[in-house]
Every structure is written in C-alpha cells, then in structure tokens.
Amino acid sequence: MDILIIGLNHKSAEIGERETVSKKLLTIELRRDFTNKLFDMKDENGRPFIKEVVVLTTCNRSEFIMNLSSWTQGKGGHIIKSYIAKYFFGDAAEENIFYMHLNEDAVRHLFSVASSLDSMIIGEPQILGQLKEAYNEACKFKTSGRFLNKLFHKAFNCAKTVRTETRIATSPVSVSYAAVELSKKVFNSLDEKKVLLLGAGEMGKLTVKHFIKYGVRNIYIANRTKENALRFVEESFNPTEKEYLNVIDFSEYYKLLPQSDIVLCSTGSEDYVLKYADIIPVIKIRKQRPLFLIDISMPRNIDPEINKIPNVYLFDIDDIGKMIEDNMEIRKQEADAAKELVETAVKEFMNWKESLNVVPVIISLRNKVKDILEIELSKYIGDKKEKDLIINSLTNKILHEPTMLIKKASANPEDISSIETIKALFNLDSEDFTDTDKGKENENVNKYIKLIK
C-alpha cells in the first residue's frame, strides 16, 4: 500500500508543457480514458500496478495521486512515470519535467497542495475546490477506494486547519480584490457609488464582481463593440449581478465620467483612452468630488499624469502589483507556520497508514490462535454455537495485549523487531501476509478496522 504522486506544475514545467498535458485531460472522457490506461498497467506476472487513482488538473498543475498495489515495488513508480511521459508527450525522455513523490513525501505534497502552500499564489483558495472536484470525480467513477478516501479527507481537514489557524489567506493578493480595497481607502461607502468599466476583459469581470459583492449597484460598461459588451454581460454574470449592469455605447462614456466615482479601464487599446486634458473639466463638473481610476490594462490606457490632479487617484496594474507583493510577503511568513501544521497532519496519516501494514499479522495471529482453540475445544464442547462464542471470547482476551503491542510497534519504526518476535513466537508464515487479490486485502482492512474499533 504505497502512495505515489506523479505530476507537473508551474515550478517543474513550462506553460506550453503544462498546456499539452491539460489538453489531454480536458474533458471527463479524456480523464476516464487516461485512468483506465493507468489501471491497465501490469507487471510481468500480469498483476496491476495501481489500485486507486485520482486525477487533479488545474491551470497550473496536473497530478495523478495513486495508491499502488502491494507488489508494486520501487521500479514500478519509474515505469508509471515513463508511461505517463510517453502518454502525454509521445516520448519517455520528457519524464524529467514530472516530479514523483512516494509515501510520506507524497502525503506531504498532497497536504501542501490542498493547503495552497504549493500554489503559484500562496494561500489562494481555488486549489482546495479543484482538489475536491477531482476527488468527487474519482468517487463517481469508483477509481478512488478506501485508502485514497482517507488520504483526501485528511488533506481537506489539513487545508481547513491551515486556513483557520494561520493568516495565510487573509491579505488580498488578487488584483480585483486589491482594487476594491483601495477604493475603500478613498470612499466611505461603495453603495451609492457609480462604477464605469471601459473594456470587457477577464480582469474587468472579476473586479466588477468584487465591486458588486461590496455593495456597488450602479455599474456602466462601455466597450468599442457594444455587441461584445452585451455578450460579455450575458456570459460572465449571473441574473442578480446583471440587474446592476448597464451597457452603454463607447462614444457615451465621456458624458458619464462626471457622474462616475470609480473608473476601471481594461481595454485593449494601445494608446491612452483617458488623457490628462479629459479629466480636468470632469473634476470641475464633479465639484472636486474624488475620482478613483484603476488602470488594469497593459499597455496602460490612462495617462499616469492624471494622478497629479487634485482629488483624482490613479492606480495602474504595477501599483496594485506592488501592494500585492507586500501581502505575498505576509503569506510567505505565514506559510512557515502552515508547514508545521501540515507536518503534524502528515505524521498522523503516516501513523494510520503504518498501522494498516500490520493488518495481515494481526489477522494471521488471530487465525492461528482460533485454530488451536478450535482443535482443543472440539474435544470437550459439541455445541458449535457455544464453542464459537468461547473461541472468540478467549481469542480476544489472549490477543488483546499482543495486538496492542503490534499496533504500537507499527507506529514506531524502532519497535518493528517486536512484530518479528511475535511472528517467530507464533510461527507465522510470511507468505500469509502477501495479498493475492484486491478483494481479500479490502476484506482484511475491514476486519482490522472492526478490530481496532
């Protein structure tokens, strides 16, 4: 029962390489097809390498979290890795861009990913949702079993602990959120404010959504092609949000400037859309009421000189970026505390996992004792029901201490010799511990879980 994670992310692979992989995992069908191929991988004896698999794919990473069969030894991981590289790139030589984590490292990696410690933007909340989606998909198609279920639930718990016990996700690090926070430094309340969005891009969409969330109810959208703006509103916003949006002709935006308190500029223009001379009369008409301008376009669409006009506050993508960097620094500091929490969770999980390794020993020991009692008690007790009751009761009583010892030894590598001693004492055959089929192993795990309860 080994956990293996093979994957690539923003640190190990270029964007083009990540795209190649994510394209081949874009739909559920593609992912199903790929997992089936993984399950079809077999060793020289025709036994499958992999028992369970979850496929995680996001814009920054693609990962395959696997539970290997007990007979899949060290080189199995490399075989799988080469196969994956060949599957996506047609060449096993590309395997260097994939990383591979085994057991404790794999658990640590998964918990770090879930806690957003391995993300491009540390603390970003999306990854946890994406991980849950990947897990749900695996559950739906039954590619995830008892072992990965436990692993993923532990990962979700770990992520929750990290988010609640550290400040890793508190300081805004997205441009859209930062824009709203900055506007709150100028305006007392956003409820009555009018927002004008120039352009219909992704960043504009996110920022407008944030403004709506924070109470803005008058938003005007102007795009060079009005049809695109209408489509943008239709596709990007839900019905409630749409109630607050008004699409206007691009030619009308200047008339609306004096009434606008916040202007978001996100056009694809190569020249300034708002010039210094445009704003001077606007601020006079506004009777010096503050005007907050956010230029999130590249190249810039608002003349930076405008910031010199009294009561006009201009922030461009670089200004916001610098502030985000400060918050990133806070998150990095918090990441150290978060890593400790992850480490604790990893230890707990590994203890549980190690305890599973002794299941065959416990089962075998119980069977041995039961067999002896069966033979001896058959001489004196004829009633089978009564005999079974006594056998079970005696087995539990006799083996209580040894079972506890085995469990304790499994959690502590230094005590592993105790298990060997028990095996030698009771002459337990090592072959008894090798699972021959998946069903039997699961049955044993179930038995063990009942036992330790």
């Binding site: 430094k185 010096q288 806070i330």
Partner: protein, 281 residues
C-alpha cells in the same frame, strides 16, 4: 481642592495607551473603554462644579481650562460615536490630557476682574459658544491632518498597506470603524466647519459687544478683535468655497489647519502675550 480630581481622567487617558502596546484587537477595545471612562470622570467633575457653583462664568484659570478640555472631549466623543471613527480619540486625547494637566498646575487665581463688570449671561454665552466652535475646529484640524497624511500616502502609493481583516497589528486595529477613508475624513471636516462656524460667529459678535460695553465704544480696534475677524474670515471663505464652489479634499484640509493654527495663535496672543487685549486686566 477639586483640582486633584483632574488627575483621575489624566491617569485614565495615559493608561489607555498601554493596552495599545500589546498590538491586539481586544486591547484596542480596552483602550477605547478607558478613554470613555476618563471622559465619564471629566463629566462627573463638571457636574460637581455645576452643583457647587451653579451655571456661572468660570472665573479661575484652572476651571476655564478644565471646561475647555471637557467641551473638546464631549464633541470628539459625539463625533467618534456618530461617524464610527474612534481612532480620532487616539490623537485628541493627549491634547485633552495636556489641558487637564495645565488646569492642575496653573494657580487657582481669578482671571477676569474687568470682565466681571459686564453682563454675565452674555459673557458666559460668549465663552461657551467660542469654546464649542473652537473645539469643533480643533477636531477639524486633527481630521484634516490625518487627511493630508493619508491623501499623501494614497497619491504617492507608499506605505499603503491593504487592509487585513483578520490581522492583529496595531495599524489594522486602528482601522476598525470607518477607517481612514478620505471621503469620511473630508465629510467630518465639513460637518465641523458647518456646525462650528455659526457658533464662532455668534461668539465673536458677543465678544465684540462685550468689548464695546467695556470700552464704551463699538468696535474699538484691538488686536484680539482683528485676529478674531481674520480667523472668522478664513473660515467664512472656506465655508463659502465649500458650499458654492465645492472646495474639498486636500485644499479644504489645508484651510482647516491654517484656520485652527490662527485660532491657537490668537488665543495665545490674547491670553498670554497681551492679556489686556482680551479685557483681562
């Protein structure tokens, strides 16, 4: 001597700053509570004075200074609660504590032998109106200073931290309530001006009347009257520009600062440098 009582609010005001050293949001609440407790004591002392002397003109310097501190704190507490800008207390409280300490240390002497010859009701009204007006302008002054610094930060985009909601840093704690947003600061400044101006206008009119009744001539040109009129004119221009031309923001804040500095100058001028100009001798 009742003067010793001044030390209780002073102590509370000084101790209120200690919890802030812990940089904890809960401690920020302790800070605010201690300041309110200090103000409650000030109010208690004020009512003790009222019960002993009744509603009369404060004829001793220490009482006068105490009365000034109480009105200032009363106005700041009112504004703080109304606009949810308790952080203003952080800047005003030291001024109030300083006033109380001055009240404690100055000798308990009569200050207005000449003034006592005039109509006492008008004199009391003059004092109350001027103190309320000046306190409102003092608040406008502090708020304007905050505005100028905050506006500078936003314009220069330096040391401008994005607000961290779950943080426990002192800076963040001080942002609770309305926060240092420019619109609110400018609005408080405007409200102080709008309310304070009629008070100061009536106060000055009464002062001129009192001055006239003392010297038996209307508008005898004294330096204090000139200073008062210049101050009044500055605030009148500021109010006019605000209402008619929409002057606001940094320029309005600079006007408020300049106006209050002139008030401070004219008060020092009249009370300390040339007491005779205010009919004190």
């Amino acid at each position: 001597m009742l003067k010793e009582l001044y030390l209780i609010p002073v102590a509370l005001y000084i101790f209120s700053y200690i919890p802030l050293l812990f940089k904890d949001k809960k401690m920020y609440k302790v800070f605010v509570s201690l300041i309110y407790a200090g103000f409650a004591f000030q109010t208690l002392i004020f009512f003790i004075f009222l019960s002993i002397k009744g509603l009369t003109v404060p004829v001793h310097i220490d009482r006068f200074v105490f009365f000034n501190a109480w009105i200032l704190m009363f106005i700041v507490v009112l504004f703080g609660l109304f606009y949810k800008v308790e952080y203003v207390l952080l800047y005003i409280t030291p001024l109030v504590a300083l006033n109380l300490l001055i009240g404690f240390f100055v000798p308990h002497v009569h200050i207005t032998p000449v003034m006592l010859n005039v109509n006492k009701t008008i004199l009391l009204t003059h004092i109350v109106l001027i103190l309320i007006g000046d306190s409102l302008f003092a608040l406008a002054f502090i708020v304007s200073l905050i505005y100028i610094f905050q506006e500078r930060k936003i314009k220069n985009k330096k040391n401008l931290k994005l607000f961290d909601k779950k943080g426990i840093q002192l800076k963040e704690a001080l942002h609770s309530g309305g926060g240092y947003n420019l619109e609110l600061l400018d609005n408080i400044n405007y409200q102080c001006l709008k309310i304070g101006f009629p008070f100061i206008t009536l106060g000055i009119v009464m002062g001129i009347y009192l001055s006239g009744s003392l010297s038996r001539t209307f508008m005898a040109v004294k330096p204090i009257e000139i200073m008062s009129l210049i101050t009044w004119l500055i605030y009148a221009i500021l109010l006019h520009e605000r209402v008619a031309k929409g002057l606001r923001g940094k320029r309005a804040a600079i006007f408020s600062v300049a106006g209050f500095l002139l008030i401070l100058f004219s008060l020092s001028f009249s009370f300390y440098l040339f007491p005779a100009f205010h009919g004190l001798k």
